[in-house]
């Protein structure tokens, strides 16, 4: 059963069309790699999924819920947008950790704020907070940073910061975790540790959408690959189909350039 279904998504900024006719679906537990040159619209697609951009047309379904319908783009109240975007988690290229909080607090902050909206928050405050912290510690362990709980972002390397950012996104239990070029801002020797964490999530069948320039990694980790060029899907298929037997000339050109 598909957990994510995107149909005919369209987005333009002013006169320039950034995404057109984007349709794909993703099953629960699958990883989708989105590849393409800079400026092809990959990041905008991720941002549409996370409500950081509002598409002009098309639909986005998560499970049986329509979270965006371009035919009926009623402006949603803030509360509803917040609820809907929590289906997704997003890991940014530039990590975007909150500098004034420790790694642990970066992970727990949003969870604590959300917990305040629970009706039983006042009675069970202590146990709720304790659970959140316990979970954050488990996540930090999972990304291999159990020794860095009390470190501030500036005390961590880029790779470590990105791993905290992954743990932070996971803490809210998103249905689908999105990555926007998660290693592009890292020194080459630090990309490995981040890719390893993402790989481990794929092995645990976390549903993921990964925008990346790491072709080798995309091939290893993904179940499906989407090649976008100039805002349209040029090719969509299994890693085998895209990387080994690309049908389209543009895909071949792109892969040649990227495999150096």
């Amino acid at each position: 059963m598909s957990i994510l279904e995107v149909k005919n998504l369209k987005k333009s900024f002013g006169l320039s069309i950034v995404l057109e006719n984007i349709s794909f679906s993703l099953d629960k537990g699958e990883s989708l790699a989105i590849i393409g040159s800079s400026g092809s619209g990959k990041t905008t697609l991720l941002r549409c999924l996370n409500f950081l951009e509002i598409p002009d047309a098309g639909t986005i379904n998560v499970g049986s819920e329509t979270i965006f319908d371009g035919n009926n783009p009623a402006t949603l109240p803030d509360k509803e947008i917040r609820k809907r975007r929590l289906h997704f988690g997003l890991v940014f290229q530039s990590f975007n950790l909150f500098p004034q909080y420790t790694a642990l607090k970066n992970i727990t902050l949003a969870c604590e704020l959300l917990a305040k909206e629970r009706s039983d928050y006042k009675e069970n405050r202590k146990s709720i907070i304790a659970d959140i912290e316990k979970k954050a510690r488990t996540l930090m362990d999972q990304v291999g940073l159990s020794g860095k709980l009390d470190f501030y972002p500036h005390q961590l390397s880029g790779g470590q910061q990105q791993r905290v950012a992954i743990a932070r996104a996971l803490a809210l239990n998103p249905d689908i975790l999105c990555f926007d070029e998660p290693t592009s801002a890292l020194d080459p020797e630090l990309t490995g540790e981040v890719l390893k964490v993402i790989k481990s999530l794929a092995d645990k069948r976390m549903t993921m959408v990964i925008v990346t320039h790491e072709m080798q990694f995309a091939r290893e980790v993904s179940d499906k690959v989407l090649f976008i060029d100039n805002g349209i899907i040029v090719e969509y298929g299994t890693p085998e189909e895209i990387f080994v037997n690309p049908r389209e000339e543009r895909t071949k050109q792109f892969l040649e350039r990227y495999s150096g």
């Binding site: 950081l52 917040r82 940014f92 975007n96 909150f98 500098p99 004034q100 949003a110 704020l113 809210l172």
Partner: protein
Amino acid sequence: MSFAVITQTLLEGFLITILIFIITLVFAIPLGLIVSFGSMSRIVPLRWLTRTFVWIIRGTPLILQVIIVFYGPGLIWGWTAFPRLEAVLIAFVINYAAYFSEIYRSGIESIPRGQYEAAQVLGMTKAQIFFKVILLQVIKRIVPPMANEIITLVKDTSLARVIAVREIIMEAEDFIKSAAIIWPLFYTGVFYLLFCGILTLLFNYLERRLSYFKV
């Protein structure tokens, strides 16, 4: 004229100085925030109105503003003038709110978009984003320029004498006329230096307290 009497008189003047200083800060710090929101508003007329206001206030001398607030209402509209001290306070609050608003604005605008977006995708409300994520980073960034501006305010209070508010400089100057001595004027420098010294220590402390993270 004994040292004790002169010290006593200068202290009285210095109390007025400190009063202007404190009242200005108490009102201009929050008012500046409102002005900064106006100058960052998405409503274009409001934004231009606010920015024009800030341009006029920052583009004209404070001394002129003090004079206008004191004499203006009476001479233009025939109103009863504000009491002298109140006139000074009104002019100072407006003037400093305009300067502070620009410091706030640059502080708020210097926070990367990614901080807002990261908080948004984590499901935070606008208020939570501002108070839990953005505010402390803004405060850290604006402490040095605010310190600068606040130390300038200490010395700007001396402009109050232009409408005969008896702050410390005016008190000291009177000794030139009444006793033909100039050293009380130099003596006022000690008050200013001590006060600014204390403020500098305070701001250094604040900067150290906020140095546990980097923005």
